[in-house]
């Protein structure tokens, strides 16, 4: 596939790294071609007109030109800066998690995925405006896993196929879902999951955001669910993410 000489994308800046004298390399998630790495020349100069538009978490339209190795940013314009994500450290941590999760799960394969782009921008918006971003982030995890093809099976045992009964179950990352007590008990590498946590997990998976918002899980259920998804994600990625540890550090 040959690139056009110049083209426009709408993107969220996932991360930036210093490069060369005063340049930055950006990792973007674009609406048009999924994850994409580009160069922003001179972006570290204080007087750069681009710099303010291409900070992490910013939603931006970019004009890109074909470059020798990577596309080059020629123009940048902010669509949404989500400013509270920079002004409130707790929100910065959550936004970093959202962005890191997507960055780790995706490759630069030029595949457009409007649903992922929409979920990403909606989630950053929700973290920006909602006083407690917990729900927005859990909803994002559950739906992102689905869009990436890792939707966990929560309604029937992932081993024997029996419909899940209203009792505590087990969760197997390897099997990609819930195991009934018969199949899961005593198996190495499976985690117990309470009926309560499973109920909210299923609810988030099936609902739109308005529906998910009606859920009011108790603090211990929130903690269990968060831990469960975290372990599943770590299993799938075969390594720990950085931002959850950061979120813990800033709470101290």
């Amino acid at each position: 596939m040959t690139e056009p000489r110049s083209y426009r994308v709408e993107a969220v800046v996932l991360r930036h790294n210093d490069w060369g004298e005063a340049d930055r390399i950006l990792a973007l998630y674009t609406r048009e071609r999924g994850k994409l790495r580009v160069v922003a020349k001179g972006a570290r100069r204080i007087k750069s007109r681009k710099a303010g538009h291409i900070e992490p978490f910013t939603r931006v339209t970019l004009q890109l030109a074909r470059g020798r190795d990577l596309p080059i940013v020629t123009q940048a314009e902010t669509v949404d800066a989500y400013l509270p994500l920079r002004d409130e450290l707790a929100k910065t941590g959550q936004a970093a998690y959202v962005v890191e999760l997507l960055d780790r799960f995706t490759y630069e394969d030029a595949s457009e995925n409007h649903a992922i782009f929409r979920l990403l921008t909606e989630t950053l918006g929700r973290i920006t405006f909602e006083p407690d971003p917990w729900l927005a982030v859990r909803f994002y995890e559950v739906h992102l896993l689905g869009l990436l093809g890792f939707r966990p099976r929560l309604f029937e045992c992932a081993n024997c196929g029996e419909a899940v009964q209203a009792v505590a179950q087990f969760f197997s990352a390897l099997a990609g879902g819930v195991l009934c007590p018969k199949c899961g008990a005593g198996l190495p590498g499976v985690w117990p999951v309470s009926m309560e946590a499973l109920k909210f997990f299923r609810h988030f998976q099936r609902s739109d955001y308005a529906g998910a918002q009606r859920a009011r899980p108790a603090p211990e259920v929130r903690e269990e669910l968060e831990g469960l998804v975290q372990r599943y994600v770590t299993y799938l990625l075969e390594r720990e993410l950085n931002s959850p540890d950061f979120i813990k550090q800033i709470k101290r």
């Binding site: 204080i46 303010g52 540890d245």
Partner: protein
């Protein structure tokens, strides 16, 4: 396949920021052809860098090995009641160049980066808080870069410094977002320094 010594040099150069495989090869072959004096003085400078340079135990700026404190910390001319907090020693150089700042510094030796896994514990934050607890400091100027990471660092420090009863101001609020202090021209920096704002 290249002989091992040159291959090793290329690998070593490639690990430097901003140097790709092509530049690394070009530099390695240049050094191979150049007079021995050029590679010799480079090798010597690189060895000295680690053996003759140390960090100031007060502010973590770079200083000559064997000295406990840097020149700025030792100086009787500097106002110890103001501390300017920067990411890197290079930022001190930029601010010193404008010649308008009379206070002292504290180098964090990095910046918070949640995605790369650099948290508050990885920076020289605890020594800063200890320095302030010892007394005599009235104002802390947070001069981290106006980037997401610099802002996150300032947001982390702000309540912790305030709790110690000092005035906290943010330098970068006068600077355009996304830049790097190292590249600020002197006018911009001077304006940002005199117009520093109380953190809300």
């Amino acid at each position: 396949m290249l002989p091992e010594p040159i291959q090793n040099l290329i690998f070593a150069l490639e690990r430097l920021p901003g140097i790709g495989p092509k530049t690394a090869s070009r530099l390695a072959f240049y050094l191979l052809r150049a007079p021995e004096e050029i590679s010799g003085s480079l090798a010597e400078a690189l060895t000295d860098l680690k053996t003759k340079i140390a960090f100031c135990q007060e502010c973590f700026n770079i200083t000559v090995a064997g000295r406990e404190r840097c020149e700025i910390c030792e100086s009787g001319q500097r106002d110890g009641s103001v501390i300017c907090v920067v990411e890197e020693p290079l930022d001190i150089l930029s601010i010193e160049r404008i010649g308008a700042y009379q206070g002292k510094y504290h180098v964090l030796q990095g910046v918070i980066n949640p995605i790369e896994g650099i948290g508050p514990d990885d920076l020289k934050i605890r020594p800063l808080l200890e320095r302030i607890r010892r007394g005599g400091v009235l104002e802390v100027i947070l001069a981290t870069d106006p980037t997401m990471e610099g802002d996150a660092t300032a947001q982390y420090l702000h309540p912790r410094l305030k709790a110690l009863g000092v005035h906290v101001t943010r330098l970068a609020r006068g600077l355009p977002v996304g830049g790097d202090l190292e590249y600020a021209d002197q006018n911009t920096l001077l304006r940002a320094l005199s117009g520093r704002q109380e953190m809300g």
